[in-house]
């Protein structure tokens, strides 16, 4: 029996790994009645894969049988692979036993669609209910919603899970139609909108009546596959910005396409996944969420693609040299945040510290800013007098020269990233 279980785990974890989300954050679910587990507000990564991705949740499919044939998916029905399905009890046992050993923060459960959407969703719901109601399990649960599942099932699931997600898959409708003619963005938009409204409604009710249960406390997320279809970075990030806004998403994930077939509509087997591009998209995502940038400042008709040689924050600064240099001792917090080489933590420290007196270079360095990068964009009390103004391309040259030499010291394979 353990051999079969191991085989199933291998197949169904392997099929689930293309969902890159592994976040366990955003839930402060309490451990009630001396049960097992609780939420951790900022999440915990219990280990990291050899490709450096966080492993926080037991991420598996209930089954990889599927009636659909999406070209970008390993589980598509036309793919000749081994199929497997867990029983409800097997998923529950695995989750409980992994959790008890502190291997994981919780369960990320998804599934291929067998028979129909409701049939699949109902099965997923059974796992979730069994964990919560019979096992008194209070750890994290992330459930993928099955497109087309009924509102009733989705609402019921929302009472037990921490996060729900449903993937856009392709950044544009055209891209999706090309690779999965049976699907449309509408299939995603409808449940995202429905769950968002439910979240708002439950929150409102909870304000009035304390006993109203939590509903998807860690919110919703989605994922787009990058590089399977020919969208620009601008198209991708505008879609992301739009979904953040319309559905109050907690996260949008960008997953560089990993070739899984020789389908002529997509990059062929052996093509390197676009890891650098993926990284730049995440950086842009962070700038939008934590640094107060509007997506249109970072990407627009003149700049539909992110630079590959420098990060998007530096790109923006170099395109907008008329804002710089700023005086660290007087500039707005929002402006300090925009300086390349200064992160959120350092910006906050700077604003606190300067109340006690003017700041000097050595203090900025100690606070932890990347001074060699930032120095082109700031002045502080003892900044050396600049004889001439450098042009953007010269500054870019200085910064690249410096980071180049740093990268040359790292092993060769890592260079591929840059």
């Amino acid at each position: 029996m353990s051999d079969r279980l191991r085989d199933k785990l291998n197949i169904l974890a392997d099929a689930a790994k293309y969902d890159v989300s592994c976040s366990s954050s955003g839930s402060n679910r309490k451990n009630t009645n001396k049960g097992l587990g609780n939420g951790h507000q900022s999440g915990i990564c219990h280990t990291y894969t050899e490709d450096g991705r966080c492993v926080s949740l037991l991420k598996i499919l209930l089954t990889n049988h599927c009636i659909f044939d999406c070209a970008y998916c390993v589980s598509r029905r036309s793919n000749d692979i081994e199929r497997a399905a867990f029983t409800v009890d097997e998923v529950v046992e695995l989750t409980m036993n992994f959790y008890r050993r502190n291997y994981i923060e919780g369960l990320f459960l998804s599934s291929g669609i067998f028979k129909n959407a409701d049939f699949t969703m109902e099965r997923l719901l059974r796992v979730v209910k069994k964990l919560r109601l019979e096992q008194n399990y209070n750890g994290y649960i992330h459930l993928k919603t099955i497109p087309g599942a009924s509102d009733e099932l989705i609402t019921e699931a929302g009472l037990y899970v921490d996060r729900m997600s449903i993937n856009l898959e392709m950044p544009t409708e055209t891209g999706l139609k090309l690779l999965a003619p049976e699907k449309s963005h509408q299939d995603v938009i409808k449940p995202l909108g429905f769950v968002k409204n439910q979240i708002v409604q439950f929150k409102e009710e909870k304000k009035l009546i304390k006993s109203v249960p939590k509903f998807v406390p860690a919110g919703q997320s989605t994922q787009m596959v990058i590089g399977a279809t020919p969208e620009t970075d601008k198209e991708i990030m505008y879609t992301a910005a739009n979904f953040y806004k319309s559905f109050s998403l907690k996260r949008v994930y960008y997953s560089g396409y990993i070739p899984i077939s020789n389908d002529s509509r997509m990059p062929i087997l052996g093509t390197q996944p676009p890891l650098l591009r993926e990284n730049r998209l995440y950086q842009t995502d962070w700038l939008m969420r934590f640094y107060g940038f509007d997506v249109r400042e970072l990407l627009n008709d003149n700049n539909p693609h992110l630079d590959t040689d420098i990060d998007p924050k530096l790109s923006w600064a170099l395109r907008n040299m008329h804002h710089f240099p700023i005086d660290i001792n007087t500039a707005d917090y929002q402006m300090i945040l925009r300086v390349p080489g200064i992160g959120v933590g350092s910006a906050q420290k700077i604003v606190q510290a300067r109340k006690f007196g003017k700041l000097y270079i050595h203090q900025l360095k100690k606070i932890g800013i990347a001074y060699n990068r930032a120095k082109h964009f700031i002045t502080c009390t003892d900044s050396p007098y600049q004889l001439k103004d450098f042009q953007s391309h010269q500054i870019k040259g200085f910064i690249l020269a410096e980071s180049q030499s740093k990268y040359l010291k790292t092993p060769n394979e890592q260079l591929l990233l840059f």
Binding site: L36, Y48, D51, G52, Q352, A353
Partner: protein
């Protein structure tokens, strides 16, 4: 001026008290066991005094919020060589300046404590992530650790809240003490043997399902990897090699 103290937290706090009584100017704190008399500087021996130490601690809590008190406690748990001096200097700075002085990240003492505390918090967080319990034949979930800093006191709440329905034990092999949860309370324990459950000869001490789940976990870890994305540098950045010995999936 040199203050010779007994090396304890209370001794250090007493030193702060004595310093404000006397204001001798720049003062170096030296633990008694390390003190070597030198002819050029004056020295003064501190007699650790509970009441004086308490008064200093209370004084601090009046000036600093909980966050900052925790920073000081964390810095103390770092067991760093110079940490007593650092906390001493910080106290002197805090008491000599108007309220809010701890926000001055331009000040070396403030930054020093904040940064040390951060390192300790990071290791605490890593322990919360990297501890791997093994279920023993008598149903105790056990894990031995040897962290760089003395983080066990910081782990109690997290594990107690989370694993309320199972008995567990976390043991610091290097510092020879641990904590044990008996389904009611968490108690400090000391053992004379160090149970290395990973040793083959100790396997009879494990629950019969332990090997199965450890094995399934290793399999899971392998299956969830995406080979073409391999990035060893990033991997070891997140999981420094010195922690690998804790990890079931790395064994």
């Amino acid at each position: 001026m040199i203050y010779i103290f007994d090396g304890s937290l209370e001794g250090m706090l007493t030193s702060v008290f004595e310093w404000f009584e006397r204001k001798p100017g720049l003062t170096k704190l030296v633990a008694k066991e390390r003190y070597q008399p030198d002819a050029f500087s004056e020295s003064f021996e501190i007699l650790t005094d509970r009441t004086k130490a308490d008064r200093v601690w209370k004084g601090l809590t009046k000036r600093l919020d909980r966050d900052w008190m925790r920073k000081i406690y964390c810095a103390y748990l770092s067991e760093k060589h110079e940490v007593h001096q650092n906390i001493f200097d910080l106290c002197a700075y805090i008491f000599q300046n108007p309220a809010g002085a701890e926000k001055n990240y331009g000040n070396a003492q403030v930054l020093n404590i904040a940064q040390t505390a951060r390192k300790v918090e990071r290791e605490k967080h890593r322990m919360e992530a990297f501890i791997r319990f093994q279920k023993t034949a008598d149903h105790i979930f056990y894990c031995g650790i040897d962290p760089d800093f003395n983080v066990i006191p910081l782990l109690v709440n997290h594990f107690k809240n989370r694993y309320a329905d199972q008995q567990w034990m976390i043991y610091d092999i290097k510092r020879h003490y641990g904590i044990f949860y008996n389904l009611q309370t968490v108690d400090e324990i000391e053992m004379d043997i160090d149970v290395d459950l990973l040793k083959k000869s100790n396997q009879h001490m494990l629950d019969e399902q332990e090997v199965l789940y450890a094995d399934l976990w290793k399999n899971y870890f392998k299956s969830t990897n995406i080979a073409v994305r391999k990035n060893t540098k990033l991997h070891t950045q997140h999981v420094p090699k010195r922690y690998w010995k804790y990890l079931t999936e790395k064994l």
